[in-house]
């Protein structure tokens, strides 16, 4: 074992531990924000007309009469052992309620990610060279960046879902008996919206990173020795920014997962985002907690993978053979 290998192993272990600590912190924060703060959940659920006995009984059922730390431990061990609890609004197990919806959302997010990553790199690469391409791409990027996610979806509906052209269904009420994958016509607009939401961040970051790299000394020397722009970008600058770009790709997943809330609502798409909105409206904190922790956990794992790719592609930490 060489010295460099040891260093990077230690870095990797450290990074994994930080990820775990963050997940624990996030779970405490989610729990505190929804359950432990003053604010009577039992009364919220039962309404102002509830009797004292009803309130006491519900508090007992929810474990709200226990000390806060016991409530947290009970809740956290439940999550870890796969017991997601029972929905307050519908009375059915949360796991059952979410199974199909998780699959639906996952389908849309993954397809959007697979389209966004190469497209974003390509457009970022095109915009890194100053010129008409940069002006056009930057204007589009800034426009989308300043709009709310739901407006992007609505504009697509107005254009293609009935306002101007009637090419695609304006909403996507999936048939729950079939996989989302098998209903492609209903997926086009939601996926297009997700791609448009996530793309600008990736394009902007890729452009900025490449521009910084192009301004560095080694690239200027390569340019002086007669290499062209395209060759410089793809052969020299791009490999060196792969690490940072993998982190930006991780952030892209963040925008996609945040975007499911608005996008699924626009298209009445049965996924975790629209379920979250329904659960918040019904004050169903059990479902809200599970969805929030689930999304945070997926994001933490994504950031972890992105950071590890960054560590492993960093030439200064490369393993010596």
């Amino acid at each position: 074992m060489s010295r460099t290998t040891q260093v990077s192993t230690r870095l990797i272990i450290r990074r994994v531990l930080t990820g775990v600590a963050m997940l624990v912190t996030v779970s405490v924060l989610v729990f505190v924000a929804t359950q432990a703060l003053p604010g009577d959940i039992a009364r919220t659920i039962l309404g102002q007309n509830a009797t004292a006995e009803q309130l006491t009984q519900l508090r007992g059922e929810l474990g709200l009469d226990l000390p806060v730390w016991q409530q947290y431990l009970h809740w956290a061990t439940g999550l870890l052992t796969g017991d997601l609890g029972t929905s307050l609004a519908s009375g059915s197990p949360v796991a059952e309620l979410l199974r199909v919806r998780v699959l639906n959302s996952l389908t849309v997010v993954l397809i959007a990610l697979v389209i966004t990553l190469p497209l974003g790199l390509l457009l970022g690469l095109a915009a890194a060279r100053r010129g008409p391409a940069d002006v056009g791409i930057s204007a589009a990027v800034q426009t989308i960046l300043s709009l709310p996610e739901f407006v992007v979806g609505i504009v697509l509906v107005v254009l293609f879902g009935g306002g101007l052209f009637r090419w695609l269904p304006p909403t996507s009420p999936l048939d729950p008996r079939q996989l989302a994958w098998n209903q492609p016509r209903l997926l086009i607009l939601p996926i297009a919206t997700m791609v448009l939401i996530a793309l600008p961040h990736l394009v902007e970051a890729t452009k900025t990173l490449l521009r910084e790299e192009l301004a560095s000394d080694y690239v200027r020397w390569a340019r002086l020795s007669g290499l062209g722009d395209v060759r410089l970008l793809t052969g020299y600058a791009l490999p060196n920014v792969l690490g940072p770009i993998s982190q930006v790709a991780g952030v892209t997943v963040n925008y996609l997962l945040g975007g499911v809330v608005a996008v699924e609502t626009v298209f009445a798409f049965p996924g975790i985002g629209s379920e979250l909105v329904a659960a918040v409206a019904a004050r169903d904190i059990v479902v809200v907690q599970v969805i929030a922790i689930g999304i945070a956990a997926v994001l933490l794992v994504t950031f972890l993978i992105a950071d590890l790719i960054g560590l492993l592609t960093n030439p200064r930490l490369r393993r010596s053979r």
Binding site: A21, M22, T25, V26, L29, V30, A33, T34, Q35, L37, G39, I41, T44, Q142, T143, L145, S146, L147, P148, E149, F150, V151, I154, V155, V157, V158, G161, G162, G163, L164, R166, P170, N254, Y255, L257, G258, V261, A262, T265, V266, L276, V277, A279, V280, A281, R283, D284, I285, V288, I291, A292, I295, A296, L299, L300, F303
Partner: protein, 283 residues
């Protein structure tokens, strides 16, 4: 007198960069137009925004210039009446969020230690959760009255602002003038007021612009998702008239255009100011 002269000199140099930037003027015109529309709108509205003036989803006509909505109410009147609360809420949320974030960021930046490190870690963990989720968590626990909504959006900004201001404070505390001031025995309070605050002010200004935009976006989204005031509101208008897009697109397109003009204008203004500040500090 001399202080005043110095102050006006700095602002002139920022203004010098700003004046020639077309982004500033385009942004200012768009934002001013929408703000005026929102303030004066309720008096200009031709109809009562909640009165039924005709059949539902009527196309634009002589009595309703933008047509009618899902319940047969006048779209133009609702558009004119729907901006006031939205603008007030956005302004309040961004202002309180940034104030709290600046306070936290500076505090963490000047008091290095275990407590500060722990708080920073918590604040970073908050940023793992997408912002809309953070707001929805708070709404799930406390309901969605207009005030709660504003506070929730404000709270969701704190960690982000704290991060930016913490970094800006860190740059100040490693500078020689800060160390020198500390070495001669200046207390933490005066260090913050006399050395840190003036030097992080540009960062605070840029951050305030960013948080304003994000707060307005968040509030519009939340009212679209059904957590608005229940009164007339641009986000809610888009939601309730979405089913009629094929029949009467104006009921959706009009509020979308107003929102887009406002948010794009904010973005242009912010961009112009950030560029001018950067250009000044580069000189």
């Amino acid at each position: 007198m001399s202080l005043h002269a110095q102050h006006s000199k700095t602002s002139t140099s920022v203004w010098h960069f700003l004046r020639s930037d077309p982004r500033l003027w385009a942004g200012a015109v768009a934002v001013a137009a929408v703000v005026l529309l929102a303030i004066a709108g309720p008096w200009l509205a031709p109809h009562d925004p909640s009165a039924f003036v005709g059949r539902l989803y009527l196309r634009p006509n002589a009595t309703s210039w933008l047509g009618t909505d899902v319940l047969g109410r006048d779209v133009l009147s609702r558009l004119l009446a729907g901006g006031r609360l939205f603008l007030i809420q956005g302004l309040a949320a961004a202002t309180f969020g940034v104030l709290a974030g600046v306070l936290l960021g500076i505090l963490l930046g000047v008091t290095k230690g275990r407590t500060a490190a722990f708080l920073l870690f918590c604040s970073d963990s908050v940023m793992v959760i997408p912002q809309i989720l953070l707001v929805l968590l708070i709404l799930a626990a406390f309901g969605s009255a207009p005030l709660t909504l504003t506070i929730a959006v404000a709270l969701a900004q704190v960690a982000y602002t704290a991060r930016v201001i913490f970094a800006a404070t860190g740059r100040v505390t490693t500078e020689d003038y800060y160390r020198a001031a500390r070495a001669v025995g200046m207390g933490t309070g005066s260090l913050v007021l006399r050395e840190v605050l003036p030097n992080v002010a540009p960062a605070v200004l840029v951050e305030y612009g960013v948080r304003l935009s994000i707060s307005f976006v968040a509030l519009a989204s939340l009212s679209y998702l059904g957590f608005g005031s229940g009164d007339v509101d641009w986000g809610a208008m888009i939601h309730e008239n979405q089913g009629g897009i094929a029949l009467q697109p104006w009921a959706v397109v009009a509020p979308v255009l107003v929102l887009a003009a406002f948010l794009l204008g904010m973005n242009l203004l912010r961009d112009a100011v950030a560029r001018a500040l950067a250009a000044r500090s580069a000189r």
